[in-house]
């Protein structure tokens, strides 16, 4: 009896492992769907915070490259954000936020921020040690994001990223280095649609495009008292 059940148990164990791996692979792609919390929406409605919509369109050579697909552990394109609280030093946004799987596939991400001045950058997924990678977020390109008081939803632009990549073992490629970036406001209509779907009560998004920033000084316009 033992001899006959042994192979079955091993097979069962193997199947369970396969199922777990498959589940992890699937979950890795959608684990970070993260709608604004009730508290954040309350803060947006009272003018203390702003929802900032951003789109990334990436290419490797002439091939489109899905920016927020986790080919490695990270998303293919990651953001660094410098704020008053970091003294302008750009730190990687650890949990990039997405409103839906569809908008994520289309390259949309969002942030909930207090009105003021911020600095933003993009980098490909990490393929080096953590220290070197974190250091890269303070290198160009860098944009200034100016969020005016009273803006509830804001479209900060579409970042176009082109870079060079390396092939992956099971097909596709992963971006190694960003060669060129630019920002434009061509997706304003899509931003309005996304906002209408997810935040119908917040009105049409205002447009304040990211501005390229090459200065040494970080300018801030922050309240004297901390905000929640």
């Amino acid at each position: 009896m033992k001899l006959s059940t042994y192979p079955l148990t091993r097979t069962g164990c193997f199947k369970s492992m396969l199922l777990m791996i498959a589940a992890l692979v699937i979950l890795a792609g959608c684990a970070s769907m993260d709608a604004p919390t009730g508290r954040e929406l309350e803060d947006v409605l009272t003018g203390q915070k702003t929802i900032v919509l951003l789109r990334v369109e990436a290419n490797i050579g002439h091939s489109p490259y899905e920016p927020f697909k986790a080919d490695l552990v990270d998303d293919n394109i990651c953001f660094g954000l410098g704020s008053f609280d970091t003294g302008g030093h750009l730190r990687r946004i650890e949990n990039q936020r997405f409103l839906s799987p569809e908008s994520r596939r289309e390259g949309w991400t969002y942030m909930v921020l207090t009105p003021g001045i911020y600095y933003l950058t993009v980098q490909p997924a990490r393929r080096t040690d953590l220290y070197s990678y974190m250091h890269r977020f303070n290198a160009p390109p860098r944009w200034q994001l100016d969020i005016p008081e009273g803006a509830r939803v804001l479209y900060a632009g579409t970042i176009r990223v082109s870079g060079i990549g390396d092939p992956l073992m099971f097909g596709g490629s992963v971006m190694r280095e960003i060669l060129d970036t630019s920002v434009d406001g061509t997706d304003q209509k899509s931003a309005t649609t996304i906002s209408a779907v997810h935040f119908p009560y917040l009105g049409v998004p205002q447009v304040f495009l990211l501005q390229p920033y090459e200065g040494k000084a970080f300018y801030f316009r922050s309240p004297m008292q901390p905000t929640r």
Binding site: S83, F84, D85, T86, A217, F218, F220, S222, Q225
Partner: protein, 143 residues
């Protein structure tokens, strides 16, 4: 139960013997600049409270690291080495060692009044575990 506890202690002792390391901090003079440009006391000799303008500070000290517009504040920042941390880790027949610079973060904060005349200034060490925003807010709200 007792045998389990003995086994655990034995295991811990084995791990301790197998993995071991040490860190030795060595203080050094603060003469190596790791980031930014230091602002010395001599460079601040021209400053006169209530008289010195923002333009003259910018002309003498150059572009600051931070401009907090609504608080009329300029911040100059630099980092110096104030020590070296030697570390070594051993594991079995292999090991690693190295040295890390211990950093002291200095900031010169200058606050101006509405007419851009210098109201107060201070050269301080920024605490490493406090956010920049909290640190500056505390300084501004300090009587």
């Amino acid at each position: 139960m007792k045998s389990h506890r003995s086994l655990l202690l034995l295991l811990l002792a084995a791990i301790t013997l197998y993995l071991y390391g040490c860190v030795i901090p060595i203080p050094t003079p603060e003469n190596k600049v790791l980031a930014g440009t230091p602002v010395t006391e001599e460079q601040l000799a021209f400053i006169q409270l209530g008289e010195t303008t923002k333009e003259s500070v910018l002309a003498r000290l150059g572009e600051p690291q931070i401009v907090w517009e609504n608080a009329h504040i300029l911040v100059y920042e630099w980092e110096v080495r104030h020590g070296i941390l030697l570390w070594a880790v051993g594991a079995g027949y292999s090991g690693a060692f190295g040295a890390i610079d211990l950093r002291e973060r200095y900031v010169l904060i200058l606050q101006f009044n509405d007419t851009d005349r210098l109201q107060r200034f201070e050269r301080v060490i920024r605490p490493p575990l406090k956010s920049y925003g909290d640190f500056l807010r505390e300084w501004v709200n300090k009587p």
